[in-house]
Each structure stands twice: as structure tokens, then as C-alpha cells.
């Protein structure tokens, strides 16, 4: 396997790992692998064309992965709390936030508090992922756009290939339009 194929496989593996574990570091790993692919390296033209197309597909799948993971309703101003306030006990004791639910005698209050703790933990995880995805979205899209412009813009046949790939992979209409706008030749309309 050539160095370029190893890099493409690294990117695909990282994309699979992100889809499974939602670890944003995998997106960075994929970006850094794809940035190192040198599709102009092979002197054999058909091989060069295949490598460029595979690299484009990997970039587009990465963009789609990020799009799918982004929560459009995410509110960065709604911060997760580090601890949750427990309800008072029957004796009028109020424990500090984060105390063990087992200290609450009333079963309803205890269950409600335990649920609030669990909900808070889940929201904190969601917030973490979404806040880390925002800067990564910018990096992934910028790098993918740079690749498209550098590798496909200018030649109508090349642009048709890129447009067809964008339309096949990218689901978000807004994102698709933005990427297609990078390929401006009127004669390169995708079939």
C-alpha cells in the first residue's frame, strides 16, 4: 500500500471511530491524514485521477459526518452545571450540591434528584461534544474547500466530477450549495 493509500485508510478509520465513539480527536486525525495526501505524486495519470477522487470522497464524507453530528439547536450559552442541588431532608437539612442521593429519605424526592444528576451528566457530555465540534466544523470545511478549489476548479470535466461527488455525498442543502459554489464554471454542470 502506498503512503497515500495509508493516509486515506487512516482518514477512513478515524471517520469510522468518530461515528462509533463521538471522539472529536478522531476528526482532527482524519483532517491531518487527508491534508498529507499528495494526489499529484503518481506519474501514472489514471492512478493520479483515482487518488484525487478517493481523496475528494474522504473529504466529503468527513464534512457529512460533522454535519450529521452538529445539533442545530445547540445553545452555547446554556452551560452545564458542575453539580446539582439536592432537595431538603425531612429534618430540614440541606446538603451541598452533588451529595449522594441515598441521603434523601423521601423516595420521590430521591428519585427526582437522581434523575437530575443523570440528566445533568448527559447534558454535560452533549455540551462537550457540540462545543468541540464547532471549531472542528470550520477546520474540516475550510480544508475540504481548499482541496476542491486546488484540485478541481478550472477544468470543466474535473468540475463535473467534483459536483457529482458533492451532490451524491453531502445531504445538507446549505452545505451542498456552499461547496458547489466553489466550482463556478457554467460549462461544468453535473449530469
Amino acid at each position: 500500500m502506498s503512503d497515500n493509500q495509508v493516509l486515506l485508510q487512516t482518514a477512513r478509520d478515524a471517520e469510522t471511530a468518530f461515528a462509533a465513539r463521538r471522539d472529536p480527536d478522531q476528526l482532527t486525525r482524519a483532517v491531518e491524514a487527508l491534508e498529507n495526501v499528495q494526489w499529484r505524486e503518481p506519474l501514472h495519470l489514471p492512478e493520479r485521477g483515482r487518488l484525487r477522487r478517493e481523496t475528494l470522497d474522504a473529504w466529503l464524507h468527513l464534512v457529512r459526518l460533522v454535519d450529521d453530528a452538529l445539533d442545530p439547536d445547540f445553545d452555547p450559552g446554556r452551560l452545564p452545571e458542575l453539580a446539582v442541588q439536592p432537595p431538603p431532608t425531612r429534618d430540614g437539612i440541606v446538603y451541598p450540591p452533588g451529595a449522594d442521593p441515598a441521603l434523601i429519605e423521601d423516595p420521590d424526592s430521591r428519585d427526582r434528584y437522581a434523575r437530575e444528576l443523570a440528566d445533568n451528566r448527559a447534558y454535560a457530555e452533549h455540551y462537550r461534544l457540540q462545543s468541540r465540534l464547532r471549531p472542528l466544523e470550520e477546520r474540516v470545511v475550510d480544508a475540504c474547500s481548499a482541496f476542491i478549489k486546488d484540485s478541481y476548479r478550472g477544468n470543466p470535466a474535473d468540475e463535473r466530477e467534483a459536483k457529482a461527488a458533492i451532490q451524491a455525498v453531502i445531504k445538507s442543502p446549505r452545505r451542498r450549495a456552499a461547496l458547489l459554489s466553489l466550482l463556478a464554471s457554467p460549462s461544468s454542470t453535473a449530469p
Binding site: S2, E32, Q38, E41, L43, L82
Partner: protein, 336 residues
């Protein structure tokens, strides 16, 4: 073209068009990549040996160590400049950066091959000739030198100073009040955490709390050994909390994306009495926060106490991360 006809003498051979497909296949098999002079030379050797046509494109005898633009007296003839990805602090040309920070490096004249000549971190792209690359610091503090080597053989470097988080502090969240129950010695507030030093941006750092148990005296004795977060065993740590690049300020540093719910608790009238003089008491949690970059190793901050104290007069204090809030038992009931 040059006059060389001996393939072992010419230092800049070029395959002539049209390429010999059979020789290309042989050369590709012998040398699949062409990212360095040595690899390109091996490919051409194989291509010529397989019968491929060639010409000498070099105007004069030259080797990679005999560059066209000499580095006079060893003085670099290129310059590396840097720009932080973070727009805060506003000086983006700073070479002092936080762990995990990213910097765009540009060489002039370019392009060049890039390498980390001392220190740690990552360059991306890390291969090929580039005008610009992105450096990402890892979690190791110290100096990092990055070198750009131009095709001419000339090289130039830039040294970055990578800084680890040194401390954290807390402030009452802007626009929030105090939590208090009229007649009771209790006090609560929402805290915002900041990571320092302030002259770098820690947006690629995450922090979390390691659970701790309450040390209590006096009227707070009933709180002894309570867990601070009741985080799930066996790790007993909170989830990781992020830092957003844009939330950095020169005054406060890197703001953590969390609202800390800080409250003294109330041990009840049976422990404190119902009116002054109240039974005094104090408690604290020895709080250890940790930081990491990406999914890297967790590093401890110095432990900081989260403290609460009841005074006989009915005053109650809550202290954490350098911030103190207080109420009097007679203050009206309030929420945050």
C-alpha cells in the same frame, strides 16, 4: 537543455514525452512515492534502466547540497512568521502559546519542507513542500523549534514557548445573585472558572474535577465525609469541561464552559441553633481539578479548598477559587 548525456552525471534528469508506459510501470513498482530528491532519483534510475527516454534539464552541475541560492556564511535566507489560530489574546504574532494551541507558520520565500527540530507537537501537513503549515502544541510545556528547509537547502526556524495551565480561579457568574434562606446561616452562588495564565489561550484544554470528601467541624459535623460530586466509581471524576476560544479575556484568562453550583448547605437548626448566637462550624472539600489536551494524560492542578463557615453572629461565608461570598442570617430569602 543541458549537454549531459550520462545519466549518472546529470543531477536534474527529466523523462521525455511521451512517457514509456512500460518503463513507468517498472519505475512505479521500484519506487512508489516521489516526495524527496532521493525517491525521485530512484524512480528516474528505474525508469531509465527500463528503457525510458530522458533529457538533462540542468543548466549546470549541481547537487541538493549545492543550492542555487547559496546561504551566505550559513545565514538563513528565509524567514518563518507565525499567527495564532486564536484571535484572543489579540496579539496573534505572539510566540508564547498554550498547550494544545494552534499556530499557522509561513515561510518566505516558500515553499519549504517543515520539521519540528526540537520539542514536541504536530505539523499539518507534515509532508511535501508547503508555504504554510499548522503547528499544534501537545500537552508538554517548553520550547519548540520548527524549521523550514527550502528546496535551495537554506533553512530558517522559529521557536515557540508552550505554556501549561498553572492555576485556576473562580468568580461569581456575571448577572447572578446569592442563594440564601432568611433566618438561616447559609449562602450559595454560581461560580465561573478561569484557567491561567492569561497571556495564552487554552481552548484545546479540558478540565474536570476529581471527587473529594468533606472535612467538617462544629455545626457542620454532620457533613463529614460527604462526596462533593458523587461522581460514579471507580474513577470518581466529573465529565470533561470544555473551554471556548472566543471566551478568553486578558483580564480573566480562559473561561471554562460550566456553571459551578456552590452552596454551603444547611445542617439544620438542630445543629446550628435557630437564632444567634449560632453554633459555629466550618467545612471544606479539598478540590483537585485536572486538565488535559485532547484525549491525552490528565494533569493535576494544585488542590484548592472549597470552604464554608458559620459564625456565631449568623454570618455565613462561602469561599472557592479566590472568591468569597457571604450573607447574614437576617438577609431576605433570595435565589440566584
Amino acid at each position: 537543455m543541458g549537454s549531459h548525456t550520462d545519466a549518472t552525471v546529470c543531477r536534474n534528469r527529466r523523462a521525455t514525452e511521451p512517457l514509456d508506459r512500460s518503463a513507468v510501470a517498472t519505475a512505479n513498482a521500484a519506487q512508489p512515492s516521489c516526495s524527496s530528491y532521493a525517491e525521485r532519483k530512484r524512480w528516474m534510475d528505474a525508469y531509465i534502466a527500463a528503457g525510458g527516454g530522458w533529457e538533462c534539464a540542468c543548466p549546470a552541475e549541481r547537487t541538493p547540497s549545492d543550492p542555487a541560492e547559496p546561504c551566505h556564511g550559513g545565514t538563513p535566507t528565509c524567514t518563518v512568521t507565525s499567527e495564532t489560530v486564536a484571535t484572543k489574546p489579540t496579539n496573534r504574532a505572539r510566540t508564547r502559546i498554550g498547550v494544545g494551541e494552534e499556530v499557522t507558520l509561513t515561510v518566505n520565500p516558500g515553499p519549504a519542507t517543515w520539521s519540528i527540530s526540537s520539542g514536541t507537537g504536530r505539523l499539518s501537513p507534515s509532508a511535501g513542500q508547503r508555504n504554510s503549515v499548522r503547528y499544534t502544541a501537545d500537552d508538554t510545556a517548553g520550547n519548540v523549534t520548527i524549521t523550514a528547509t527550502a528546496a535551495s537547502g537554506c533553512s530558517c526556524s522559529l521557536t515557540l514557548e508552550v505554556i501549561a495551565p498553572g492555576s485556576w480561579t473562580m468568580k461569581r457568574e456575571a448577572g447572578t445573585g446569592l442563594k440564601h434562606t432568611h433566618g438561616r446561616p447559609n449562602c450559595g452562588w454560581y461560580g465561573t472558572m478561569f484557567v491561567h495564565p492569561n497571556d495564552v489561550n487554552f481552548y484545546n484544554v479540558e478540565v474536570r474535577e476529581v471527587d473529594s470528601q468533606c472535612v467538617a467541624h462544629g455545626s457542620y459535623t454532620g457533613f463529614a465525609n460527604l462526596w462533593h460530586g458523587s461522581y460514579p466509581p471507580p474513577d470518581r471524576v466529573s465529565g470533561w469541561l470544555t473551554i471556548t476560544m472566543a471566551n478568553h479575556t486578558d483580564t480573566d484568562g480562559s473561561k471554562v464552559n460550566s456553571r459551578d453550583n456552590i452552596y454551603t448547605g444547611d445542617p439544620g437548626a438542630a445543629a446550628t441553633g435557630a437564632a444567634p448566637p449560632f453554633t459555629a462550624g466550618d467545612h471544606h472539600f479539598p478540590i483537585t481539578f485536572q486538565w488535559h489536551v485532547g484525549s491525552g494524560t490528565a494533569h493535576n492542578f494544585t488542590a484548592v479548598r472549597q470552604e464554608a463557615e458559620i459564625f456565631t453572629t449568623g454570618r455565613c461565608e462561602s469561599r472557592k477559587g479566590g472568591n468569597t461570598e457571604d450573607t447574614q442570617h437576617s438577609d431576605p430569602t433570595s435565589t440566584r
